[in-house]
Symmetry: none
Subunit: 216 residues, 4 copies
DNA sequence: GAATAATCGAGACGGTACGTCTTGTCTTACT
DNA sequence: AGTAAGACAAGACGTACCGTCTCGATTATTC
């Protein structure tokens, strides 16, 4: 997948590429995505909305799917969930992370874009790889690191595979609910963390948590 | 979503709709899906391969996504994972279920189709609802029932929400690995179940863990 | 071209064919022709408008073009111009014939149908043959007979070829003006007859005729 | 003194339209027309044969009938019959003109195209107007001019209407024979001119009519 | 009368073409 | 060289129509 945002030679012959055009294109892509969804995306419409020529779009991105991938990767779609703070209480931290994501996904226009990301990943191996590399694996690693630390601290079963698989289970559950249109509520966040981390949860720590009934 | 396989009035006026044509269309869709993937699906090609006219395709299905949905729902794509046998050992049963799915997804042509299902669900609310209703919610319920039984048996934390969320976490983890192209191996199956069900602790430890948590 | 209006065996087994249906089909064809023109003709619409099934249409007529041909031949389109009365004055008789045709073609809905006849003849050799046989050759013969009689009477140059060619010239001129949308007025009728019969016109006879300025 | 130059295309922005593509489309249309006739014309086939996209066809021509019209107007179909030479003998000149047309129409592939022109004109008012403007009215005017000159020379009845109507009668007779599939022979050409221009009357009769010297 | 058979309206069928839309490339003139 | 505009080849879309086939229902004739 082509990606050369920074010119190799800062001063080269001819007109310099317009970052403004690129930003406008990504913004227009996001708008189109929210308005029409992934399958109705039209490069013509994006270019027109961005006030750019089609060639400019294709100069930056080799294909529509790459454009969508960059739109997501470039932070135009997903806020940063690469950080899982360590407060000492892993369940609290995970809960907050999932709650943050749930809150983010509840903002208008966000769900269509997340589903577009899923659709793009489903359709193209390259996009999937690129998106995994820059987005999901980052979140997965952040969760995994936090879980590993918790394992060392005795809050959870120790071991790298467990941390990795739990991370994937958490992200997967979120993904599943996005695709099935099940709501991502704060209650869901709590219940999810309680469930997947609940097996070895010390009763004391359990008491600390607000149980809040899980939405379906 | 259009769906009228069973005539409401057994004595319709015109020629009866050909179930054979419908079956041929679904079969051709499956073949196309395996060969080219969801985004390259062509109704022209499907109709030609099925020996059907395009109008016949559109008489049965209003859009490509609905066709794919019916292809999956109709059992043309997903073998039956609606059953989770109860051997008494929930971890064993879940492991076997995930292993079976992993093995199924490893068959040639299956992954593209599963990704197509994800893409179709991502693109259309209606298809997502229809697919959830007939496919994923069925698997989810099967897993959930088994987990609930395990909760009653004291093998896992009790409570309906826990069973539901663990089911979604398991399905979600599988979905996540399908979309990210991470391999679904038997080892993955084992590690996933161990992780979300509280590690591979011996039955004694298991008994230790589940004294009946705080409610639900 | 298939044509079996009269059953070979007046009493055969089974239900008798409905002449009412056939008449309704021709009437609906005429209406469609006037409303939409020849190229927009739809057998589906004709059948629906006639309250008939498509098969009934195709039981009577092998194809759309044959239907149009029969519609015209059967008198649903063209009134009878097979008669050229003989008053003794050939110019007067021709003038009246052309005037009658001009008047007929000026009736609402007639021109589209005449043009449809031309289009049908242009597109199909069979239809052209059938239409020539039943319609134009009849008119041509009627004109030709009258002209031949005039030749014998010394009013025009004698000879069969002259009569035939003049007939074709008269019909052709009318056809030309229909296709080019030039108006068919009474003045045109007079001027046409004066022009093509004018070469050997005795001055006395000329004075008898109202010259009336020819519309273009 | 400055002469402000106005470019024909005052700086159009995008790629210039390809006249080559247009020519290829017209050529392919002509070939299709000869091969299959007007009603079997397929824009898909034309585009494929021209090596052009369908959109390019529709960018130039709004509909099939307009394409056919341009094909004819552009000289791809009708050789030039806009000239009627003046040898002094009007019957000779007309005879030659009709003979030339008869010869042209006898060439293989010409008749289907002429009938297509008639069908296109019959089906569309716009096409009829366009075709009359560029093709038939030109021929009509050429004949008319020659006839008017003959009128002034005393070879025929004088008067503009007579010239016009005779022209229309000649073209109409030719059109009639094309649509009815009657052959256009040299004999027909001679007989037609003789008939509409007052028969093959002997020079004496001719002298009677035309006081001016008829000869050369 | 009962059986048989051709017709009827209705409408699905396999095909073909339509005219539109979209993709990714290419070609203009302008900056 | 980069840019906005937009034409280009290719090909899928969803609709319309053709002429055929198949329904259940409706007349007729023949047994």
């Amino acid at each position: 997948m082509h990606q050369s945002r920074v010119p190799v030679h800062p001063s080269r012959r001819g007109r310099t590429r317009s970052e403004a055009a690129r930003a406008a294109i990504l913004q227009a892509t996001r708008d189109e995505l929210i308005a029409n969804g992934y399958d109705k995306l039209s490069v013509d419409r994006i270019a027109a909305a961005a006030g750019a020529g089609k060639q400019t779009v294709y100069r930056w991105y080799p294909a529509k799917s790459a454009l969508v991938a960059d739109c997501i990767i470039g932070g135009y779609l997903l806020a940063d969930f690469a950080e899982v703070p360590d407060s000492g209480d892993v369940r609290l931290d995970l809960r907050n992370w999932v709650r943050a994501f749930a809150g983010y996904s509840g903002q208008p226009g966000t769900s269509p874009v997340l589903r577009a990301a899923a659709a793009a990943a489903a359709e193209s191996d390259e996009v999937a790889a690129r998106m995994y590399e820059h987005v999901t694996s980052v979140a997965e690693a952040a969760l995994s690191d936090r879980l590993r630390a918790a394992g060392h601290a005795g809050q959870l079963p120790d071991g790298s595979p467990v941390a990795t698989l739990l991370s994937q289970a958490i992200i997967g559950a979120v993904l599943y609910r996005i695709l099935t249109r099940l709501p991502l509520t704060a209650d869901f966040a709590d219940a999810l963390v309680n469930s997947v981390c609940g097996g070895s949860q010390p009763p004391a720590a359990s008491a600390q948590l607000a149980p809040g009934p899980a939405g379906r």
